[in-house]
């Protein structure tokens, strides 16, 4: 098998809700665990309308910046009650929420540390493939300024990757298209 013989993507379509959501999906950490907060947001289309048939998935390091995965060379280490993965379908108003812990800084390329961040996949009817973005944290100004991924994003758009503080955590809206379009990544 050579490069290029992978299976193509197809849209989740309008009926994703019967197959993908899990009752505990929005919880990247055990529901009863301490120290969690919500990241809430709304998924918008290019006309500024909420997308009610979408799904958000998140993947992130634990508070020490580690991953419970064999490819973390420091060795997999589980943070109690923490799954690192969140999944939430959008509701009729395009809203989603993920309950999680703040990730620690994560090693990057060439000696640079990455600022705390969460990788996000967006799926929706009308998307033939997922789109990928990242959530960064507003109180991490110094680490964000040194982050190699953020540094590669032109200044006015960079702000779309930084969550806003909220009463029970953060707000991170995702605009697929249009004014204030969220930065999406080629992954």
């Amino acid at each position: 098998m050579s490069k290029g013989e992978t299976t193509p993507s197809q849209t989740v379509g309008p009926y994703l809700h019967i197959g993908l959501p899990w009752p505990d999906g929005p919880y990247a950490l055990a529901e009863e665990a301490e120290g969690g907060f919500w990241i809430r947001g709304t998924l918008y289309d290019g006309a500024g309308a909420p997308i009610p048939d979408g799904l958000i998935e998140t993947w992130q390091a634990d508070p020490e910046g580690r991953f419970d995965h064999p490819d973390d060379p420091r060795g997999a280490q589980a943070w109690p009650g923490f799954r690192g993965f969140g999944r939430c379908e959008t509701d009729a108003e395009g809203r989603f929420g993920i309950r999680t812990l703040k990730p620690g800084p994560v090693p990057g390329l060439g000696g640079a540390m990455q600022a705390p961040h969460i990788d996000v996949s967006v799926f929706a009817r009308g998307m033939l493939n997922r789109t990928v973005t990242r959530i960064y944290f507003p109180e991490e100004a110094e680490a964000n300024a040194a982050d190699p991924v953020l540094a590669a994003v032109p200044e006015p758009e960079r702000a779309t990757l930084i969550a806003r503080p909220a009463e029970d955590g953060y707000v991170f809206d995702i605009r697929v298209q249009g004014k204030d379009e969220t930065v999406f990544f080629d992954i």
């Binding site: 098998m1 050579s2 490069k3 290029g4 013989e5 992978t6 299976t7 193509p8 993507s9 197809q10 849209t11 989740v12 379509g13 309008p14 009926y15 994703l16 809700h17 019967i18 197959g19 993908l20 289309d45 290019g46 006309a47 998935e57 993947w59 992130q60 390091a61 991953f67 490819d71 973390d72 060379p73 993965f85 994560v106 090693p107 990057g108 390329l109 060439g110 640079a112 540390m113 990455q114 961040h117 990788d119 799926f123 009817r125 009308g126 998307m127 033939l128 493939n129 997922r130 990242r134 190699p148 991924v149 590669a152 697929v176 249009g178 969220t182 999406f184 990544f185 080629d186 992954i187």
Partner: protein, 247 residues
């Protein structure tokens, strides 16, 4: 080991091969709903670092006893042609992807989904939910028993019908390997007018979404069989330098 850059004394695992040419473009006018749902700015290149080469390890405790048999989830059997759908999940270097979660969802034999917004005039089947899950085994193999889904109409264009399909969701072993796709059936007469199918630029890549009728695994007097292998992105070659067979 490869010569990967280090940070904080931590070597980084190699990234995954990028395979964009295989996938449909996000902007595809033939599928009208893409118009307002594709980013217009160019995508920013994201190097594959630790967050991208790791991913959730899911499934254990998430799979129920009848989750891989959609014909046994209710009191009685669903209407329709019973089928076995099986295959192997590999990466593009041919390596099996073991112990990875596969989720499926589909319409019933009449082409109707058990979903609040699917209300076209075809009956629901009280004995069919159309949702399944399984984990691949140590060789990356999976197997579902279900019924053959029907085609269904939609509003994309005049007299639009979706070819019969089963939606598949796969995690692989890394965030970069995540894939949601659809499996089709051989010889479907509806491909020509289907924008999902036609959105895939390369004809050979389209054919990789079509299952093979598998007479050898057909269960006598019980079920037809279809075989469908799924190929996820492989690692960048650099990581395997030290593993090249030099014997």
């Amino acid at each position: 080991m490869s010569t990967d850059p280090r940070a904080d004394g931590v070597p980084l695992a190699a990234g995954y091969q990028r395979d964009h040419e295989v996938h449909p473009p996000l902007d595809y006018p033939g599928y009208r709903s893409t118009a307002l749902r594709h980013p217009k700015r160019p995508l920013q290149l994201l190097p594959h670092m630790l967050t991208e080469v790791t991913g959730p390890v899911l499934g254990e405790g998430r799979i129920g006893e009848t989750d891989n048999d959609l014909t046994r989830q209710h009191e009685d059997e669903p209407q329709g042609q019973r089928i076995i759908v099986h295959g192997q999940v590999r990466d593009s270097d041919g390596r099996p992807v073991p112990n990875t979660l596969i989720e499926i969802w589909q319409a019933n034999a009449g082409g109707r989904y058990r979903h609040a917004v699917d209300n076209w005039p075809s009956p629901l089947d009280p004995n069919f939910s159309g949702v399944g899950r399984t984990l691949t085994d140590a060789q990356g193999r999976y197997r579902f028993v279900t019924i053959r889904p029907g085609a269904y109409p939609w509003g994309n264009h005049d007299n639009a019908w979706r070819p019969a399909h089963i939606h598949f969701s796969l995690f692989g072993q890394a965030f970069t390997q995540r894939l949601v796709t659809q499996m089709y059936f051989p010889g479907d007469p509806l491909f020509f007018q289907d924008p999902m199918w036609n959105s895939i630029p390369d004809e050979k890549a389209r054919q990789r979404l079509v299952a093979r009728f598998d007479y050898a695994n057909t269960a006598p007097e019980w079920a037809l069989a279809f075989e469908w292998d799924i190929v996820l992105r492989g690692r960048e070659s650099t990581v395997f330098e030290s593993e090249v067979d030099d014997g």
